[in-house]
């Protein structure tokens, strides 16, 4: 069974204080790993897709990396507007069904 565990569950940062969110996964053959940002009461907003170990992608203050067992979402010099829940999901090769983690709730204080 595919599993995704995200840590920490919640993270409070001061503006400008860089940190990383972790997504540990087990899947029998990875088709893709996805990162989303979700604001309260809204649908997830797509951030990145990673396909193979060693791959990295960046967007503004965010950088996602992938190994064979986990992915990290690095946030550099965060701003209050980066406050949201960050979701990680994996899709296996053999299925169309992605498995989502429960997310990391990030709050950035000014």
């Amino acid at each position: 069974e595919d599993q995704v565990t995200q840590s920490p569950e919640a993270l409070r940062l001061q503006e400008g204080e860089s940190s990383s969110l972790n997504c540990s996964y087990t899947v029998s053959g990875l088709r893709g790993l996805f990162w989303y940002r979700q604001d309260p009461g809204k649908g997830p907003e797509f951030l990145f897709t990673l396909y193979s170990a060693g791959e990295e992608k960046e967007k503004e203050r965010l950088k996602a990396t992938l190994t064979k067992k986990e992915s990290f979402l690095h946030i550099t010099a965060p701003k209050p507007e980066d406050s949201a829940t960050y979701l990680c999901a994996v899709r296996p090769l053999r299925s169309y069904i992605p498995t989502f983690g429960r997310g990391t709730s990030l709050i950035v204080h000014p």
Binding site: G43, F46, T49
Partner: protein, 114 residues
């Protein structure tokens, strides 16, 4: 470029009733997936539609059914509503074929069952 749209935004129903939720995919996308998201949880896959047929289904009872129209829009129907069906229902679209890639989500429909 129109993103994924869903209607209605909010809905209140009573136990035993039936509900229909609607989704229009992002322009150029032909695959629609539906998810249920309970508070504090990640989205749970309900089913995916491609070429007007259900391609794969998650672990949800037959009370949950769907449809995809020729213009790729989709409906999610839930019969005999239970209190536990209260959740945010999300639609996501992607470009289909044998290997549908990244999914883009709509704003969701918040369903409350009383």
């Amino acid at each position: 470029d129109a993103g994924v749209t869903q209607s209605p935004t909010h809905l209140i129903k009573t136990r035993g009733q039936q509900v229909t939720l609607r989704c229009s995919p992002k322009s150029g996308h032909d695959t629609v997936s539906w998810y249920q998201q309970a508070l504090g949880q990640g989205p749970q896959f309900i089913f995916q539609y491609y070429e007007e047929e259900e391609r794969q289904r998650g672990n949800f009872p037959d009370r949950f059914s769907g449809h995809q129209f020729p213009n790729y829009s989709s409906e999610l129907n839930v019969n005999a509503l239970l209190l536990g069906d209260s959740a945010l229902y999300l639609c996501a679209s992607s470009l289909g074929g044998p290997n549908p890639e990244t999914q883009y989500f709509g704003p969701g429909t918040r369903l409350l069952v009383l």
